[in-house]
């Protein structure tokens, strides 16, 4: 038995009215379920809020933490405003070097997001290309690429990152590493996690490849490259979209972990991870805010992305609502 579906096409006699992109979105299941899911709304609001605030940090932050002249070492380890002894200039207090914690968190969030997005874009470029080729071309290409992915996945991201990071640091020197830390981290995290994309894309390509519209494109005489990118790829976008949210959160966490281990961002240009690390030594001495406040920001950021990802997966997995 089939549940009666409601198609938009009305009878042929009426004049067709083409819905605009906005109207299509408004009538879509995505928008419908977003309207009803308050968690998703809240998470999206937090996420967008954090992104805007982070990337507007040079405008919003009270001080410039990268500018050594604005740092007063005498004002170090000042507590946030709700604790006695706070300085009104520093709402969230200061860190061990006397930098304004609010400013440095804003700048740090920007660095974390930059590395997260950058790494995911790199992963997606590699993973989608390899996944498409493996799935669509099949045979030897498939076997080769997937074995490569298996090998890559058998090393944990952190292990690869630590080894590469350590080698680069040893050969090129710490100064070089600090200077190009953002690019290094994007490369390391991006290269380590492409198999996630490749596998997801390959699986959905295998499903799409057997559909008749792909045969129709072949019968038309289109070349493989065009079929792959023009016909198959757009139809594998939903799983790519879903996995991207999870991967952004993962990349941010990986970066934080690396920074915490001292292989990430340098103290002068800290990310959320290196902030947590730098404050960690003071947690015993009473200055808990230096580590806990950036920690809380990291948790809120990652949690909101993950919850958004969960919601997206539920919406975009047709089995859950079409049954």
């Amino acid at each position: 038995m089939t549940i009666p579906t409601v198609t938009q096409s009305s009878s042929q006699t009426t004049r067709p009215r083409i819905p605009s992109r906005w109207e299509r979105l408004r009538d879509s299941y995505l928008w419908y379920s977003f309207k009803r899911d308050h968690t998703a709304q809240l998470c999206l609001a937090i996420f967008i809020g954090l992104v805007i605030v982070a990337f507007a940090s040079p405008l919003l932050a009270p001080t410039d933490p990268y500018d050594l002249r604005q740092i007063d070492i005498m004002a170090s380890e000042l507590p946030p405003f709700w604790i006695d002894g706070a300085d009104e200039r520093f709402i969230l207090g200061t860190d061990a070097q006397g930098r304004d914690l609010l400013s440095i968190i804003l700048y740090g969030t920007r660095v974390s997001l930059l590395i997260g997005f950058g790494a995911v874009i790199l992963q997606a470029l590699l993973g989608v290309t390899f996944g498409l080729m493996a799935g669509y071309l099949g045979g030897r290409v498939d076997a080769l690429l997937m074995r490569l992915a298996d090998i890559q996945l058998s090393f944990s991201t952190l292990m690869v990152a630590i080894v590469v990071g350590a080698v680069v640091k040893a050969t090129m020197g710490g100064a070089f590493y600090s200077e190009y830390a953002v690019i290094m981290l994007i490369l390391i995290i991006g290269l380590a996690e492409w198999p996630q994309y490749a596998r997801t894309v390959r699986a959905s390509v295998l499903a799409e490849k057997n559909k008749e519209y792909v045969d129709a494109a072949r019968v038309m005489g289109l070349r493989s490259k065009r079929i792959m990118f023009r016909h198959v790829l757009p139809n594998t976008l939903s799983p790519i979209f879903v996995i991207s949210t999870v991967q952004i959160a993962n990349a941010i966490i990986s970066e934080a972990a690396l920074s915490f281990l001292g292989l990430g961002m340098p103290e002068t240009h800290p990310s959320l991870g290196s902030l947590i690390k730098s404050g960690f030594d003071y947690i015993q001495s009473g200055s808990w805010w230096i580590t806990l406040i950036p920690g809380a920001v990291l948790v809120i950021l990652v949690l909101s992305i993950n919850l958004l990802g969960d919601w997206l997966r539920d919406v975009m997995n047709p089995r859950l609502y079409k049954g």
Binding site: M1, I3, V6, S11
Partner: protein
């Protein structure tokens, strides 16, 4: 009183776009041992009608009104527990896909024994004997070995025979068969249909056959309903409807069959397609596709656009069309002209 009586059945689906009425005012009866066909295109509501008899429509669908009386029991208001005693036991179902009924991880024998023991207090040995007997009735070669086989080891035709054996297991009063042969090949389809017919006659079991295939209906059933956009539009003895359909839609359906046209000539098609249930035209739902229009200006008749047609008796058949009398008059005039 008939064995099964459905009156003014109304089924709705609560979808996000609003409530969709899948069935409206569906009424029919089934006598003991009678074979009834429900014909219609996809989306006409024939499957919903069958599923709602046993209250098997899942969310977001629900029965919004009407009554279903089976052997004096009111199925519509029955508790789920009481209904389970009727389902499978006194009314059983055959689905289009045999794997909807068969559990792939249990052997055929286990499934049949389980089903028997759920409804009757008998030993496993007795249950197995009954199962074997039913398998013999559906003419499966080497039934003993089949009992220990798993569904995936059998071919499509064989599986559908097993399904029929399971449907007959508890000697039901009615079998509801939803497109039972659509997924099968022509030769196998003919065999399964012949078998079903034979067994129903032999055991005096009533059959409700849901199909889109007019050929199958004409060969198997005694009475038929034609459904369109959630309503029954014509019902009566199968032969009479096939030979002399009254409703323009039924006429269109029969005339559209390739066998009704001269080979190589255009087929007599019906214009357009069935409207979606959420967006039905006013009045008779068929009027935008109906050929019986005002010849003077090519517009549909005002009555067809304004009012939902009531059932009109026409011989042994009942037709929901405003224009039945007029069409008959037209035909009479034509016949007179010829003679």
């Amino acid at each position: 009183m008939a064995l099964l009586e459905v009156t003014n059945l109304d089924v709705r689906f609560g979808l996000r776009q609003g409530e969709v009425r899948a069935l409206r005012d569906v009424s029919f009866t089934l006598e003991r041992g009678e074979r009834l066909g429900i014909v219609g295109e996809s989306g006409a509501g024939k499957s919903v009608a069958a599923f709602s008899l046993l209250n098997l429509i899942g969310k977001p669908g629900f029965i919004a009104g009407g009554s279903i009386t089976f052997d004096g029991l009111e199925l519509n208001s029955m508790s789920e527990r009481a209904l389970r005693k009727v389902r499978g036991n006194r009314i059983s179902m055959i689905f289009q896909d045999p794997m909807m009924t068969l559990n792939p991880v249990l052997s055929i024998g286990e499934q049949m024994v389980e089903c028997l023991k759920a409804h009757r207090r008998i030993s496993s040995k007795q249950a197995r004997a009954i199962a074997l007997d039913k398998l013999q009735q559906v003419q499966i070669p080497s039934p003993e070995t089949r009992l220990d086989q798993y569904p995936h080891e059998l071919s499509g035709g064989m599986r559908q025979r097993i399904i029929i054996a399971i449907a007959l297991l508890l000697d039901p009063d009615i079998i509801i068969a939803d497109e039972p042969t659509t997924a099968l090949d022509v030769t196998i389809q003919a065999e399964i249909m012949a078998l079903l017919l034979e067994l129903c006659e032999q055991h005096n079991v009533g059959l409700i056959l849901i199909t889109h295939d007019l050929g199958v209906v004409s060969q198997v059933t005694q009475r038929m309903l034609v459904m369109y956009a959630g309503r029954v539009i014509e019902q009566g003895p199968t032969r009479e409807i096939i030979n002399d359909p009254q409703h323009p839609y039924t006429q269109g359906l029969i005339n559209a069959l390739p066998q009704m046209a001269t080979p190589g000539e255009r087929l007599n098609q019906i214009r357009g397609s069935m409207p979606s249930l959420s967006n039905l035209p006013d009045g008779c739902a068929f009027h935008p596709r109906c050929d019986f229009i005002n010849k003077a200006n090519g517009e549909p008749r005002p009555a067809c656009v304004q009012k939902v047609p009531e059932f009109v008796d026409s011989g042994n058949c009942r037709v929901a069309c405003h224009m039945v009398a007029e069409m008959q008059e037209d035909r009479r005039l034509k016949l007179e002209e010829i003679s």
